[in-house]
């Protein structure tokens, strides 16, 4: 598998959430392609040195979110039907989490709604060069 995952067990963010986010990100970025097989629960648990039940939970939740398909005996695969749609949704998920973190941070530093808006507008202006930039 070309995608490389790393988790930080010492973080306060539950491991399964860290891993779900990374797999969605890998699908969004295309490092995990539609139809590609994911490692077995045991292989990924050993690769990352994390609990197998944690990995099993990640796969269950990704299956529930229609990101992967798991069939007994065959393994887990990135879904191919509507993979583009799933990837976009995965991108949005990852971006939304990062965005929420940034806004929460701004708020926690005591910035007003107006100040946060202005900061966002300036940041968007820096990264999206023109109005038409898709």
């Amino acid at each position: 598998m070309p995608a490389i995952f790393t988790v930080d067990p010492r973080s306060g963010v539950p491991l399964y959430l860290q891993l779900i986010e990374q797999i969605k990100r890998a699908i969004a970025l295309g490092t995990l392609a539609p139809g590609e097989q994911l490692p077995t629960v045991k292989a990924l648990a050993l690769e990352l040195t994390v609990n197998p039940n944690t990995v099993a939970r990640v796969y269950r939740e990704l299956e529930r979110d229609a990101v992967i398909d798991t069939s007994p005996g065959r393994g887990s695969f990135v879904r191919t039907d509507g993979a583009g749609h799933e990837a976009r949704r995965a991108v949005a998920d990852v971006a939304r989490t990062a965005f929420e973190g940034a806004v929460r941070e701004a708020k926690s530093l005591g910035l007003s709604r107006k100040e946060t808006h202005e900061l966002m507008a300036r940041t968007i202006a820096r990264w999206y060069e023109t109005e038409n930039d898709a």
Partner: protein, 295 residues
């Protein structure tokens, strides 16, 4: 979750008037790894000894694979004590021979593989081994009988970081193959990595028994800073989902048990100047649990 392979119900162990283990109930399912944390003297080792029948319980029941302890139990149970008990005048290879004769499921190829993993020379006599090497031999023997139940008392004490990582991988591999693992450790990071559930003991009692990811999801600190004095909290302190509230100057800190978003909303309604939610790692959750229990 599968049926528990290790089942402890109401375990109590008294030594005279001292209660070393006080009404502890704990299950570990097949495929699961439970990390047992606690300060020294919390009763972890005594719990293990009772679990294995090495100490007589004062009350409570023990079941391994659904049955009470019997000689047959030990075919499938591997135990690594805090201080490995080896025959000092035997070589490592001779220890393997003892195991081959004693255990039906002993796997010699596996044992040789593990000796290599821990950089052990089978020709060495046990008396020449360092503490860490003795632990490594005990672990080699434990994992070479293909156990269904593993009980490990500080299984990485004296091992270097690379060998410690091997121990975690061995536990993960065993659990992935359907074994139940119960291990104690002073290294919270190991529990955080390898275990799916954590049990915390203090003064003989079990004060936390939970899935680690659930604990981390629930237990958070909400910190709010107010422009002036902290307003009336409207009974917030009585919320069962709040474990503790601290107020220092204009800063309010609430430790939540669950539902931190809802509590953050309630605090937000008091119009703080800023508010943030702080994630807690297992070490902080452990420290908080023990200090709450001491109070």
């Amino acid at each position: 979750m599968n049926a528990p392979l290790i089942s402890i119900t109401g375990l109590t162990k008294r030594y005279g008037s001292f209660t070393a283990v006080d009404d502890v109930s704990l299950d570990v399912a097949a495929g699961s790894i439970c990390g047992l944390l606690g300060p020294n003297g919390a009763g972890k080792t005594t719990t293990f000894k009772c679990l294995l029948g090495f100490a007589k319980t004062s009350a409570g029941t023990i079941a391994i694979e659904g049955a009470p302890l019997s000689p047959a139990t030990f075919e499938t149970v591997a135990y690594v004590p805090e201080r490995a008990t080896l025959y000092d005048n035997l070589t490592i290879a001779e220890h393997l021979t003892v195991y081959r004769r004693s255990y039906k499921h002993y796997d010699d190829a596996r044992a040789r593989e593990l000796l290599a993993l821990f950089d052990l020379d089978p020709r060495q006599r046990a008396e020449k081994l360092s503490k860490g090497m003795r632990t490594a031999v005990a672990l080699t023997l434990a994992f070479s009988i293909r156990p269904r139940v593993l009980i490990l008392d500080e299984p990485s004490s004296g091992l270097d970081p690379i060998h410690q990582r091997h121990v975690l991988d061995l536990m993960i591999d065993a659990a992935a193959n359907g074994a139940a693992v119960l291990f104690s450790s002073h290294q919270v990071g190991q529990v955080e990595r390898a275990a799916d559930s954590v049990a915390i003991m203090n003064k003989g009692r079990l004060i936390v028994n939970s899935v680690i990811d659930e604990l981390k999801t629930g237990e958070k600190i909400i910190e709010a800073v107010f422009a002036g004095p902290i307003p009336n909290l409207n009974g917030l302190a009585n919320d069962p989902n709040i474990l503790r509230i601290e107020q220092v100057g204009s800063t309010l800190r609430a430790v939540t048990r669950e539902d931190s978003d809802a509590i953050a909303q309630r605090i937000f309604a008091l119009h703080p100047r800023s508010i943030r939610t702080i994630d807690l790692n297992l070490e902080e959750i452990f420290m908080n649990a023990v200090s709450r229990d001491q109070a």
